[in-house]
Structure formats: C-alpha cells, structure tokens
C-alpha cells in the first residue's frame, strides 16, 4: 500500500510546474495553425468547386473518426516513414514537440472549421450588407464589423478548445513529450513509481487551478468583447434607461 507523502507531492508539483512552458507552447502553436487550417477548410467547404468541397469534408470526417492517440502515433511514426529518404531522416531528428503540434493542429483544423462557420453564420448577412452599403470594401467590413462579432461569438468555444487541448495533450507523454504530465511521469519512473499517487495528486493540483484560471480568463475576455452587457451603463444619463433588449 502506497503512502501519500506531502513532501513528495510538493516535490512533484515544483518539479513539474516548469514544464508548463511546453504545454503552453503546443497549445498556442496548435491553436494558431489549427485555426489557419480551419479557415482554409471552411473556405474549401464553401468553394464553388466540388472537388474542394469533397476534400474538405473528407478531411473533417477522417480527422473526427481518428482517436487522438492513434493520430499522435500515426504522425510521430508514420510521417518520417511516409516521407522516406533524407526528408524522413530529417523529420526523425525533429523535436517531439513538433509532432505534437502537427497532430493537434490537424485536429483543431477540423473542429475549428465548424467553429468558424458557426461564428460567421451567427453574424447575420445583414451586417455585411450594411457595411458595404456605407461604402466600405468587403475587407474593411470584415475587419471592422464581422471579425469583432465573430471573435466575441467564438470566445467560449475557443476557451473550451484550449482547455480540452491541455487535457488531451497529456496523451503526448506516450511519445515522450515532457510536458507537465510527461515530466511528472518521468520523475515518478525514476523512483519506480513508488510515489505514483502523490504524483497524481500533484498533477491534479496543477491542472485544476490552471483550468479554472483559463475559464475565468476567457469569461472576462468575452465580457470585455461585450460592452453592451455591462451593468450600470448610462447611469448618469438623464434620458432614462435603455429600452432595447440585449440578447444578440
């Protein structure tokens, strides 16, 4: 029977926390490239050419049907083999983090294409026409009118994706990534897992506050992007309370 040791919890906690940098690195990189892939896939889905639409939906279906662990292995072991030759050897030399980023970018690419579609469709067509009608170009309308509203609509989903990614990313220890979980496993392994329970408690103590902080962060971001929902606006104005209902 293992004993829970406060000392060991503190040890695992303090030694694993620095590896958060790796976690943040793959989360941020995957979010950026994933969103770019997602935008591309969305564009292809709405293309007038059938071939692009087929490729896009094939991509989304395949990625969705692949467990992330399987995808991780496929990318890590399969990509260098697939490339073969010198390119394959070069790929094998790349840091593990690269493969993790590729895997999750591919995943986020599929889910974010849907997310982008939802965010765009929620911003009514009328908003775009209004922008054009005052003489703005399509690009200006997108930047000043559509994008801010899309971001605001998408913020909760982006937050969920980031949190999901942090937890999913823990799987990457299987290919040797030293993120928080990988680091803790590595340290625990050196002690023959004699204090594994303490290690898991330490991990929980890292993941919980991290997730809570991120949730709060995205909630306040959404709040910041929704100025009309702030309480006590116009308190000082004599014309009385606002009459409209704010539930865009």
């Amino acid at each position: 029977m293992q004993k829970i040791s406060i000392k060991k919890i503190i040890y695992y906690f303090t030694k694993s926390v620095p590896a958060l940098g790796v976690t943040f690195a793959y989360v941020i990189i995957s979010m950026i490239f994933g969103t770019l892939i997602g935008a591309l896939i969305y564009r292809m889905k709405t293309s007038k050419y059938r071939i692009f639409r087929i490729i896009a939906s094939l991509y989304v279906t395949i990625v969705r049907c692949t467990p992330s662990l399987v995808m991780l292995f496929l990318v890590f072991y399969g990509l260098p083999l697939l490339a073969g030759g010198e390119l394959g050897e070069w790929l094998e030399e790349l840091p593990i983090l690269t493969f993790v980023c590729i895997t999750f970018s591919v995943f986020i690419g599929a889910s974010s294409s849907e997310l982008i579609r939802a965010a765009l469709e929620a911003v009514a067509k009328g908003q775009k026409e209004a922008g054009l009608s005052v003489g703005m170009s399509s690009l200006q309308t997108f930047v000043h009118v559509l994008l801010p509203q899309m971001l605001r609509n998408a913020t909760p989903n982006i937050g969920n994706t980031v949190i999901l990614l942090i937890k999913e990313g823990a799987l990457a220890y299987t290919i040797g990534l030293r993120d928080v979980l990988g680091q803790a496993y590595y340290l625990s392994g050196r002690e023959m897992n004699a204090y594994a329970v303490s290690m898991y408690i330490a991990l929980t103590l890292i993941y919980w506050p991290l997730t809570i902080i991120l949730e709060r962060l995205f909630a306040s971001l959404e709040h910041a992007l929704t100025p009309w929902e702030r309480k006590n606006r116009h308190k000082d104005i004599s014309v009385g309370p606002a009459v409209g209902e704010c539930n865009i």
């Binding site: 026409e129 054009l132 005052v134 000043h144 009118v145 004599s238 409209g244």
Partner: protein, 250 residues
C-alpha cells in the same frame, strides 16, 4: 440623377423582375408600392448590388453602369454615391450609435476622425438622438435603431438614399417617429427611393409613385394621379384595399 433601364432578375425559375425602368430626378422622393412578392425589394437590392441583376443598366450621377457587373471597384463606386436603409435596421451590433454613423466616414472615406465625429453627431442630432450617442443598438428601441440607420445613411452625404420598407419591422406606435424623420429629409430635398406599405406617407410625401406588380411597373406618376385616378384596374384594387385600411386607422 438616377435612371434605371430594363432590369431583369430571376431566382432559379422565379422571374422576379421582368424589365423595370424608371427615372429619379434630383430632390425626388419616389415611393415604390406593390403587394409582397411584386419585386420591389429585389429591385432596390439590385441597384445597391446586393443582388446581381441578369440584365439591366443604370446611370447614377453621370456614371453609367451595367447592373450585371461583378467588378468590386465599380460596385464600390456606386455604393459610395448611395446609401441604404434596411428593413431590419442592420446596425453594426458591435458599435455604438455614434460609431455606427462614423464608420462610413472614417473607414470607407478616410475622413479625419474629429471631422467624422462632428458630422456623425450632427446627423444623430438631426434624427433626434443626440443623447444616445454611446448606446449600443441592442439598447435602443426599433424606432431609435432605424433612426440611427437613417443618420448613418445621411452622414456619408449620398446622392440618393434607398429605403427598403423602413417601417415594416417596427411596432405600430414607433412607425410615426421614423416616418417623420424621412419626411423631414424629403422637405430638405434629399433624393430618395422608398419601398413602402405606408400609403398615407406615399400620398403626402412622395413626388412620384411607382406601382409594381408581378415584376413590372404597372403604373407610375404623381401621387395625386395614382391615388385618385389610377389607370390600371389592379392598381385600383390594390389601393382600394390599402386606403380602406388607412381610413379605419384614422
């Protein structure tokens, strides 16, 4: 000022516009009447290039354009000369009333910010919303939103303003404030084309009335004539139905 020739537009098998031509002079207020589905809104949307006509031309302020064009440059040139007031207001949800009005100046026309703020404030004051500058659209009533929409159209100093059923989405008690605003503009000589179901407005304010039915203009002329001696039987029936309503309302 504006002259529109032979506009055709189909959505699939549905031939919505079957050759529409009309002219608008400087300072004219043209009311476009007609039952739902007669093509009024589609006509207006074709002129603003929200829809691409299948056929047709227009001349606006000395510039001749093919209404079927997909050229972003030409489309934008026309849109810079016109303004559009929407049935559902379509104010920018993420902008305050003031920002809504300013955007067409600062972004689209690169007007200096201070100057734009001045123009926008004046436009909002004109529609009676000087005290609502920093309100977001969702904090305003429908009538107020539509008046911001009108201010937004006015601010860019267009040659002509298109109104697409500006009061149809409003609660009856809010229709008056919007119509009064439009009347005020008419008095000041703003050139407008107004698609509307408000017969009394058309009769009192318009300098010209167009009656559309089934994708063509059945009749057009001075409101006095259209309302008192319509030549076409269908126009007569349509007006009888609406004017009756109108009498009850009084």
């Amino acid at each position: 000022m504006l002259s529109v020739r032979d506009v055709h537009k189909s959505f699939g098998d549905n031939h919505v516009l079957k050759g529409v031509s009309f002219d608008v002079g400087e300072g004219d207020v043209v009311a476009v009447l007609g039952a739902s589905g007669s093509g009024k809104t589609t006509l207006l949307r074709c002129l603003e290039f929200f829809e691409h006509a299948d056929e047709g031309e227009m001349e606006l302020d000395g510039m001749s354009v093919d209404l079927t064009t997909h050229s972003a440059k030409i489309t934008r040139q026309i849109r810079q000369k016109t303004a559009f007031v929407f049935q559902n207001y379509n104010l920018f949800n993420n902008k305050t009333a003031l920002e809504n009005v300013m955007l067409g100046l600062t972004v689209a026309r690169k007007t200096d910010k201070e100057k734009a703020r001045e123009i926008a404030t004046a436009a909002l004051a004109k529609v009676g919303l000087a005290e609502r500058l920093d309100y977001y659209p969702c904090e305003l009533s429908g009538g107020q939103q539509q008046r911001v929409g009108i201010a937004r159209a006015l601010a860019v100093n267009p040659k002509i303003i298109f109104f697409d059923e500006p009061t149809s989405a409003l609660d009856p008690e809010l229709v008056g404030e919007v119509l009064d605003t439009i009347k005020q503009l008419a008095k000041e000589g703003t050139t407008m084309v107004v698609v509307t179901h408000e017969m009394s407005f058309a009769r009192d304010v318009a300098t010209k009335v167009i009656y559309m039915d089934g994708g063509v203009i059945l009749e057009q002329g001075k409101p006095d004539k259209i309302f008192t001696q319509p030549e076409n039987e269908r126009t007569r029936k349509f007006l009888a139905r609406y004017l009756q309503d109108f009498d009850y309302n009084i």
